[in-house]
Amino acid sequence: MYAFLRRWLPEGPATMLVGLWYALLIVLVLWSLVEPQAEFRYVKL
């Protein structure tokens, strides 16, 4: 992701954007884990 952004952006903004992006994803994951989940399984583990 960082390498992708660095093609257009200087180091600082790219780092910040990547940080925000990861933070957003982590929040989404944690939030959906707190919410009651409808679990779907493709394979049996």
């Binding site: 982590i26 779907f40 493709y42």
Partner: protein, 382 residues
Amino acid sequence: MSVVSLSLFGWMVFAVAPYWALPDRLRAAWLSGVTFAFLVVHAPLSAAILLGFAAATHGFTRSDRVSGKTAFLLCAAIVLVLVLYKLRVSVRFTDALTTLAIPLGLSYYALRCVHYVIERYKGTLAPQSAQDIGSYLFFLPTLLAGPIHRYAPFHRDAARRRWDSRLFGEGLERMLYGYVKIAFLSNYVVSQGLSSLVLDLQASHPSASTYLSVIERGLNGYLQFSGYSDIAIGFGMLLGYRVMENFNWPFVKKNISEFWKSWHISLSSWCRDYVYMVVVALSRRPALAALASMLAIGLWHEISCRYLLWGLYNGLGIVAWQQFQRLKPMLPRIESPAAALALDAAAVLLTFHFVILGFVLVTEPTLGDVLTVYRSLFQGWP
């Protein structure tokens, strides 16, 4: 065992942190040890089976040239164990998709052992040490749900291993994407959001509702399984390995053959090398071989009528595509770029629908339910 669980996450941290603190020559042993401990704690039966497989795989392939008989008997024994457990599963359970009863990881490590034995038979691999085989089979990242990675690249990564912060970062990012796919996109957005839409529409537009529910299964299947693979591949990177990819945008392929080259790649390539090629080598009939490998892919999931049907369905799809390839030169060539683009889009849509209609075969409890779904899809439109 859930892939998105605090327990598994704890095992990951436990595996990774001391791994890099240890001297390089001890790392493989540490990782095999942690993997073995993990299995003993969570699935002692599986630990015993894998230990037996590893011992047999190493013990019977030590000579410079492995005879066809040895290779056949060894593979047959491994597959037999797998088949017996698969049979037990399908007899006992109505909905095998959400139930676990097969020894943890058996479906994957059995195929790894067969891969190793056949490569030894072909002579592409020299005999490997017990420690090297152990570190290949007792590899925590791919233990639960694949990919069914191969020995040679794995071994090469071990030889090239070093602390690499870029790879480590890439691994963390990859794992995060896996968690997003499973927990957020699949379990939340698709399973909650899309399925409530399906429910809402059920009364007013039953066919649209059924259609959406069919799409939902396809999406979920992809998001879940590619999410597992992301986590496995990312976890592998944390340990300095680049494990083979398992998915490559399967839903935007232009034909069924391409789809199977980009869906569960490690299984389909395994079947290509060890089912398709074996059948070809013995029979010299590619159509038969294609059918056999699609059946193997189907039955690998579960030994049951519906997976047999699903395998046949996809196998026939591939055979039809192969036959079409022969006809293709006789068809008129398309010159206009716009028409070619439209044709490509149609091909992608056709392939996508062929695949998700296939999923219906294995996601409905009975054949009667399958027919109900198909009837609703094709008849219920206003």
